[in-house]
């Protein structure tokens, strides 16, 4: 029962530890690649059932991004969709029935990659750095700086507060995803140890719901922040 914060190291390559969350990241990557290759091989004008679902998800996200961001949709949409797909499949990988029971030296072989603070922190950093870089590239460096620093003292104060809130965004992003999935895994393991039949499936249904919502929240927040940073800053005039 993984009640430990840090994931268990299975083996090391050189000095790089391979933990069970790294194994899960590789599994998620393999799943996404298999999905992409399968879709691209059988693509057709009259879509099959599977292709319809993928097209539906992509189109919903695209129209949502277009309604929020407008003209910068082309730059923002890849990030949003990638974050959603990766985090969605990573959150669901802790519910896989057979693979999660395999243990190596007493530690489970697979532990959901978003239940590791390293992964969620990396995703949060990528999101924030990409947002800032996109802001600098789209609006220019001077407009980007004018968002935080200005000569008007009230605007300067609120600009400095915004600068601090950029760092709290990193913490909030990473801990929201980490906390939800980590605690979900613990609750699932605890309930399965006590009840054998009906209750674990109820908890598993709740975990599926939470996994979808958290992936959606991460993608939507990234999209909102990116669209804020790529539009010109309207200060106190």
């Amino acid at each position: 029962m993984t009640a430990t914060l840090a994931p268990d190291t299975l083996f090391t390559i050189g000095s790089f530890p391979i933990t069970n969350t790294v194994v899960d990241t590789l599994l998620v990557d393999a799943l996404i690649f298999a999905l992409v290759i399968y879709i691209n091989k059988n693509i057709s004008v009259i879509p099959t059932f599977f292709q319809t679902i993928i097209e539906l998800a992509a189109e919903q996200f695209h129209s949502l991004t277009e309604s929020t961001a407008g003209e910068n949709t082309k730059k923002i949409f890849p990030f949003v969709m990638t974050f959603f797909l990766f985090i969605f499949i990573a959150n669901y990988s802790e519910l896989l029935p057979v693979i999660t029971g395999v243990t190596v030296k007493g530690a489970p072989l697979i532990r959901s990659t978003s239940s590791d603070l390293n992964t969620t922190l990396a995703l949060a950093l990528i999101s924030i750095v990409a947002t800032h870089t996109m802001g600098i590239r789209t609006t220019g460096f001077k407009a980007y700086l004018a968002r935080f620093f200005s000569t008007n003292p009230i605007a300067l104060f609120s600009g400095l507060l915004e600068l601090v809130s950029e760092f709290t965004k990193i913490i909030s992003f990473s801990f929201r995803l980490f906390g939800n999935i980590f605690v979900g895994g613990i609750i699932l393991a605890s309930i399965t140890a006590v009840f054998a039949f009906v209750l674990p499936s109820v908890v598993m249904f709740y975990e599926m719901f939470v996994g979808f919502i958290q992936a959606l929240i991460f993608a939507l927040l990234t999209m909102a922040f990116m669209s804020i940073f790529t539009t010109a800053h309207s200060g106190i005039e």
Partner: protein
């Protein structure tokens, strides 16, 4: 996994705020649907996402409760 008193207190105090918050979100959403039932398809997804935000704050304290 052991159950400790500190863990229980952390989890209990940390869930008060988000509990009130989620209740208010739900109340306002239901009131908005009551005023305008045709807007149901737009209000409910926003309500779910807002509840996800509020619930994350309770999860922050739950993480520390499980580690005690």
């Amino acid at each position: 996994m052991t159950i400790t008193l500190t863990g229980g207190i952390i989890a209990a105090i940390g869930t008060i705020g988000p509990g009130v918050g989620i209740g208010l979100i739900g109340a306002k959403a239901v009131e908005a649907i009551g005023r305008n039932p045709d807007a149901q398809g737009k209000i409910i997804p926003i309500m779910i996402v807002s509840m996800g935000f509020a619930e994350a704050l309770a999860i922050y304290s739950l993480v520390f409760a499980f580690l005690k």
